[in-house]
Symmetry: C2
Subunit: 179 residues, 2 copies
Amino acid sequence: MVGGQKPLNTSTPCAACKLLRRRCAQECPFSPYFSPHEPQKFASVHKIFGASNVSKMLMEVPESQRSDTANSLVYEANARLRDPVYGSMGVISTLQHQIQSLQSELNVVRAELVRYRCNQDQNAVTATPSMVNLRGYPPVSSSICSQTASESVDFAAVSPSTTLTNMSDNKGTIRPWKS
Amino acid sequence: MVGGQKPLNTSTPCAACKLLRRRCAQECPFSPYFSPHEPQKFASVHKIFGASNVSKMLMEVPESQRSDTANSLVYEANARLRDPVYGSMGVISTLQHQIQSLQSELNVVRAELVRYRCNQDQNAVTATPSMVNLRGYPPVSSSICSQTASESVDFAAVSPSTTLTNMSDNKGTIRPWKS
């Protein structure tokens, strides 16, 4: 170090300094996370967040988490570049719909399963033991069977399952961006 | 309009102009989307993206989509403020895990259902017709039953279902940010 100046990166400057056409100091906040071999990564975050915001966001988290932070910013920036209206929110919306669809499908299959088990238990009354419960499934309760007959079993109550995350903004409201 | 100046908003300035302490012109790019009654919305996007980037992103989409764009930017900014390391990416990661969990659960329930149906069909060989297939389910194929016995049915092949979205970045790779 000469005259109090920060030492420069002796190797190739990072992608950020290259894009911003500035000297890449050894303590450059971008260089550990934006390799000159992947210039597109910094170009994306620069376009969406701006260099100073990216630097600020990196500096605000512990050093051990800066790599993850940089990567998630790149992901979000790319999502916004792909979909300028919805960005990551569009991806979130798609996943939420997928979860709702899977949950519905799961409920349908569970309902069918309960019907089979109810049938099997009803058959057990008249059939010989060797014909039913071959795999030792426990009998279902008669209350579930009667509910199933009217197609109104609450499967979330019958068998706790993965439920839809409450995707809330800071006001706790769900925003369905896409239909 | 006097001397070519743009007319000002005669009512309260928008949240953006209030925060930036500037005159709110009638053609202010923020005023339709950042009401002075919800100052936190602009404060969030200002902190994460910066005012000029927000303005640029709003102007780059058709006017009819600017409201959705502003709202999705607010959502993303709030997600980043809540989770400075992963932001929206953290939400996406959580939803992806939820989908994987639901898909696994669905496969388990489907496997159980196939076993029941196989049992029922096996019973049908020895039982009287009144004892089985009470609800008219079609018989399952013997190949599926023999696969089920070894617990290796590919349910995606047996019954097409909602599948996990391939969440890829611009390089087509999935990034599992959280374990």
